[in-house]
Symmetry: C2
Subunit: 377 residues, 2 copies
């Protein structure tokens, strides 16, 4: 089996991509001798493979990387209907994708997953035997063992042992996680922030999600609630939110809220771009909606930067139109509300993502547990 040193090595490779044995030895603080043995173990197991040779002065160095086909992971997003189900390899590449009907009943969900799994493996029969785990992304609070959904308003759950139920139905190791936190783990493991030790992800879907990676690990907070930026108050005494309090960011800057405010103004729009278009014609109401939303989101992100000084903010969005007024005002609001000393010091990276991002995040949760181990000290 894998020792702690093997796990550490896998973590380093997952962070810093293909590395030579010597580089790994330095990164782990081990001798070349120890490294040699660890690498052989993992190559013999089929986890690592030699991927390219770097020529320089002296003996060329052989870069080792993860063998993508060593293990596969299923990821399911329970925040969409139908619920996307994807299969990805150890490199994070999606190799199959299907849908399943969304249910709110844990037993039904588990049964549906078990039923649909064979379809996911249809084109990749070799992957079935090498399945490393199932990951589930959902909206709500999850315990630190990534097994129990403590509470979910959307699914109307309270203390649901979802991971175990799915494990019983499928016989496969299963982990669940909050949607935004799943995206953060995805970005850390497979995305553009692999080598960042401290960053925050803000995910703009229908709602606003946020999660922090601190010291290279997902920070879940003491009750699993870190990153609940959507319910930060940005307009004290503002409009009531479905959470029960007032002036939450969610009521002003989420795509749902923006669209609802636009509909209330009588605009026919189904996406952000529609409203941006109307605003670009000079319509005051549309401009106002977008301006207010952008300022609010920017203020919240600025406060996040002040509070946590992350190395990077990654904003993932599933809608087009972030180059418009909303996005521009947001970026300005960040600039004006961050300590001048900091302004521009924290890169803000915008990335348009497809709506399978949550399923991919879910699969990443499974991959993380399989490869590096649970996210616990």
């Amino acid at each position: 089996m894998l020792t702690a040193s093997h796990r550490q090595l896998l973590r380093v490779i997952s962070e810093s991509g293909p590395l030579s044995r010597t580089e790994m030895a330095v990164a782990l603080g081990l001798s070349k001798a120890a490294m040699s043995g660890l690498a052989r173990d993992l190559i013999d197991l089929g986890v690592l493979h030699e991927a390219g040779t770097i020529y320089g002065r002296g003996r060329p160095s052989i870069r080792l990387d993860l063998q993508p086909e060593w293990a596969f992971f299923a990821g399911i997003s329970l925040i969409q209907d139908p619920a996307p189900m994807i299969l990805c390899d150890l490199g994070g590449k999606v190799i199959a994708q299907i849908d399943m009907p969304l249910s709110r009943d844990p037993q039904t969900i588990a049964r549906l997953i078990a039923e649909r799994l064979p379809d996911l493996f249809k084109a990749h029969p070799h992957a079935a035997a090498k399945i490393g785990g199932i990951g589930i992304a959902l909206s709500g609070f999850v315990d630190e063992r990534q097994a129990t959904c403590i509470q979910s308003t959307l699914l109307n759950w309270q203390g649901v042992l979802l991971a175990q139920i799915i494990r019983e139905h499928t016989g496969i190791d299963t982990f669940i996680e909050n949607d935004a936190k799943a995206i953060a783990v995805h970005e850390k493991l497979f995305g553009s922030t692999r080598d960042q030790q401290n960053f925050s992800v803000v995910s703009l879907g229908d709602g606003i999600g946020c999660a922090h990676v601190i010291d290279g690990r997902l920070y879940r907070g003491n009750h699993g609630g870190a990153g609940e930026i959507a319910h930060c108050t940005v307009e004290p005494g503002g409009a009531p939110c479905r959470c029960g309090k007032r002036g939450c960011l969610d009521t002003i800057a989420s795509m749902n809220a923006i669209k609802e405010m636009a509909r209330a103004e009588g605009f026919a729009c189904t996406c952000l771009s529609d409203i941006e278009k109307i605003a670009s014609t000079g319509n005051a109401a549309a401009i106002n909606i977008l301006h207010r939303a952008g300022s609010a989101l920017g203020l919240a992100i600025a406060n996040l930067i002040q509070m946590n000084d992350p190395g990077l903010i990654l904003i993932t969005h599933t809608e087009d139109g972030l180059q418009g007024l909303f996005g521009t005002v947001m970026q300005q609001a960040i600039e004006t509300n961050v300590l001048p000393r900091y302004a521009g010091q924290t890169p803000i990276r915008l990335r348009r993502v497809s709506s399978d991002i949550w399923a991919r995040g879910a699969a990443s949760i499974a991959a993380h547990n399989f490869l590096i181990g649970p996210n616990i000290n």
Copy 2:
């Protein structure tokens, strides 16, 4: 010398107080056999001593604890004039306290410290030989090696290698840290939050400081700026702050700001209690100042809770009067701006501290580096 296992053991003891060898073995995940050896090493070195016996069924367990006289630490606060200098032992107990004149010149500071050290040791000559380090608390940004002051507005510094300069003058290992972060380390090492893995400290002195402990370690942020809550915007477009932006918490809720606003109203007051007294007579202007300040601070803390879900918020204050209107409004504002699901889930602990808290924090920085090692991965 001390191995990594010894350090881990010291960390556990510093967190969980006196423990028996068996308890330590469990806490470290080691065998009783390995534990036995580690404990003997540290007892022979004089770091640990047997402190009391617990009788139960079976052989009594002997609790081991740090030997407070094993090492001593000097702490100096550069945020006050005169600058307090304290000497404390490994248990965090202050055994001597003197003042030194505050200077803004690094060389002068180092010289003054070297000159005053003998006075600090006067009543404790045995401590001089056992000095484990010097810690300095200052207002500003410090690098992750706790050696260089990257920037300090108060001291008008930029890139000052203070630790090294003091080391050269005194021959003693020296570390510097931001004031609020020093308090956080103090509370983690010696205070009431020793066993908490995730908490934030909000320190109300003349200004507002804040620092986070995450996964048991001080989280400094990517540029050493984590916890800059004082310059979170709470009133967008509000009054200009000396930092260059507008509506910062610092302009509304710091003791300096409160007193200034009170003076602008023509009140003769030198401390919070004075204004509280005036407000308690029904004076609208005084009530307004305190209400506005309390709401703003409460809002910022609520946003901190939403953002980071800490296990505890410790508010340290050097002034009396936190039981009055300001404190009450603050607590209410926290409650109303936190997700109802969370409300009351995050304990808010208020603690009146004396003004030597920063010097004590500074000494704790030295103690932490000496005992557990640098705060780096």
